[in-house]
């Protein structure tokens, strides 16, 4: 049984925020402008992004609310109504509440009845994990369709008050993601029958390397003790004061995503799944323009590079929205970029959380 992406949608909250507007919105930490901001923004190349919080740090829309908007956008251009949806597969790195699962909250927000539910938890690759769960479910004939939604609301972690609550000076690793991540949601509709010009999912594969590498991106540890969980403190206030609730990136380890991203690509080539000369479009969720060049060069070095003009990304205008990025990219690609029946699309999501690399190949079809 074949599985097709027959519709897509996205939601980006509020107006596009340019580089000069970020700090006034997120706030000055201890009243002082950041010394790292310019350098990090220069390297990631992002020009505009969106936030679901305003300058008073009110949340303008919840994570589940954004996910629902993206899903509704996706359904509005599909052949299906909500009553016909049989499965919901949802991904986020952090829901609005700790429990229950994000999928349950999204289902209620969307008003979907009697569906099969899946929640996928992780960082950037969790959307492709959610997609794979839906894909295999359809592939085996268990369900005829599935709505797959990925959404992120990380800006709540970037409010100046969060850093101030964690005490004195900000370290680079704790500040880094403040200038990298932003909010948004993306949705895809999967069906076992094609509808007009759509994408057939050829395969989805991931390779995780958590056993060989330390944690690279995290929320829940204090900076000096990777063995203490935020839940080990006597009170959550103490966890926050100790910096255990800050989102951190171990920048020193980050370069590994380049090698591991290329490694997975080479594996898929040797398995015969990827034929580099047959790829017409590459949609790679690199977190930063800096890494795009590195991945591109290493693929060239291996002799299996893909021409620059085949690479598409909307990172620069939509921001890095974690697991939602690849869906938002796919949606914008589908609706704005030229693609022909028979074209092959390679999607890549090298995640730095603890190094899970996910890949997907699509073929443009028209029945």
């Amino acid at each position: 049984m074949n599985v097709y992406i027959t519709s897509s949608g996205h939601f980006l909250p509020g107006p596009a925020i340019n580089n000069e507007e970020i700090e006034p919105l997120l706030g000055l930490v201890h009243g002082k402008p950041s010394r790292l901001r310019r350098r990090i923004l220069q390297s990631n190349g992002i020009q505009t992004r969106h936030y679901a919080i305003d300058a008073n740090h009110n949340t303008t829309i919840s994570n589940a609310g954004m996910a629902a908007k993206a899903a509704e956008h996706c359904l509005s251009s599909s052949f299906l109504g909500k009553r016909q949806i049989k499965m919901l597969s949802a991904a986020t790195s952090q829901g609005d509440i700790v429990l229950p699962g994000f999928g349950s909250m999204l289902q209620a927000e969307l008003g979907l009845s009697d569906i099969e539910l899946h929640s996928s938890h992780g960082i950037c690759s969790s959307s492709l994990m959610a997609l794979k769960a839906a894909f295999t479910n359809l592939k085996t004939g268990e369900q005829p369709n599935a709505l797959v939604v990925a959404s992120e609301l990380t800006s709540r972690l970037f409010k100046a008050s969060r850093y101030e609550a964690a005490g004195a000076e900000l370290d680079f690793n704790a500040e880094f993601l403040r200038w990298m991540l932003s909010d948004g949601a993306g949705a895809l509709l999967l069906e076992t029958q094609p509808r007009g010009k759509c994408f057939r999912i050829d395969w989805i594969r991931s390779f995780s390397h958590a056993d060989a590498y330390p944690v690279c991106m995290s929320v829940g540890y204090p900076s000096n003790s990777p063995h203490t969980s935020w839940q080990d403190y006597a009170s959550y206030a103490e966890a926050e004061a100790d910096g255990a609730l800050l989102i951190r990136q171990d920048v020193r380890l980050l370069e590994n995503i380049v090698k591991l991203g290329v490694d997975g690509y080479l594996r898929l080539i040797s398995e015969g799944r990827v034929q580099p000369d047959k790829i017409d479009h590459v949609l790679c969720h690199y977190s930063s323009h800096y890494f795009k060049g590195k991945i591109f060069d290493m693929m060239q070095r291996a002799g299996v590079g893909i021409a620059e003009h085949k690479w598409y990304s909307n990172l620069y205008s939509r921001g890095n929205t974690g697991c939602a990025s690849i869906f938002i990219m796919l949606d914008e690609f589908r609706t704005s970029q030229a693609h022909q029946v028979g074209d092959t699309i390679l999607c890549m999501v090298p995640e730095s959380g603890r190094f899970n690399n996910a890949y997907m190949q699509l073929t443009v079809v028209e029945p």
Binding site: H209, D211, Y213, P214, R252, D263, L266, M298, R301
Partner: protein
């Protein structure tokens, strides 16, 4: 970007060697001593133990390289020149390593009398055996691993060791030195690969030797913490 064009076999070989290297890095990531270094829970004593175990391999390293050079016949005299040059550059590196050991608080007599650990024994035995074969083309695979490791030491380990042990670089000179000439070394390695990998049989021999070298190198690092006196 590729600065020079590789022949099709060596290009494929390079691709396979990259995968062997990525896998090697993951194997290194599972070695307990290196996991502690990664977490910063690494003492000067750990570092001395590492150097103590490393010295034998560095000494033997120059020997297999020299043997390898002498096993190439006159059809490969250009290769011989390159490898002899490389061997001459590195054959006294162990003296720098010994100075680091002493600077880090170790006793010179201890490092000079330490036996090879069983990983070093296996690695050295394998490399000397391969180096003794006529025209040991496959050893470019071993060089790939060992050069790559030099780069990793210089780029990552030296700084991590200094950070974890409060050092100022004065006892990580050996590791840092390996990074200094790196681009040059890698460039020579690509040229060597292009020269030596000209057939599918050579390709698979090179990749196999790279795999074995990587596995035995890991064994050597794992054995660093093995105390046989127990």
């Amino acid at each position: 970007m590729t600065e020079h064009v590789l022949n099709p076999h060596s290009q494929q070989c390079l691709q396979a060697l990259m995968r062997v290297w990525f896998d090697f890095e993951r194997q290194l990531g599972r070695v307990p001593l290196l996991q502690r270094l990664e977490r910063g829970q690494f003492s000067k004593a750990d570092y001395c133990q590492l150097l103590l175990n490393w010295r034998q391999q560095v000494i033997e390293g120059s020997r297999w390289i020299s043997r390898c050079a002498s096993s190439f016949d006159r059809d490969y005299s250009d290769v011989r020149s390159t490898i002899i040059g490389h061997a001459r550059e590195e054959h006294r590196d162990y003296e720098m390593l010994e100075r680091d050991y002493v600077a880090a608080g170790g006793n010179l007599a201890d490092i000079q009398t330490a036996p090879r650990n069983i990983g070093t024994e296996a690695l050295h035995g394998f490399l000397m055996y391969r180096a003794s074969q006529p025209n040991p083309v496959d050893l470019v695979g071993a060089m790939w691993i060992i050069e790559g490791l030099g780069q990793k030491m210089a780029d990552n380990w030296a700084a991590q060791i200094d950070r974890a042990t409060g050092g100022d670089g004065s006892y990580t000179r050996f590791m840092r030195y390996h990074g200094a000439n790196d681009d040059n070394h890698m460039q020579k390695l690509y040229q060597l690969l292009n020269r030596l990998c000209q057939s599918p049989a050579q390709l698979s021999a090179i990749v196999r030797t790279a795999r074995v070298t990587a596995k035995l190198y890991c064994l050597q690092l794992e054995e660093t913490e093995h105390d046989y006196s127990e």
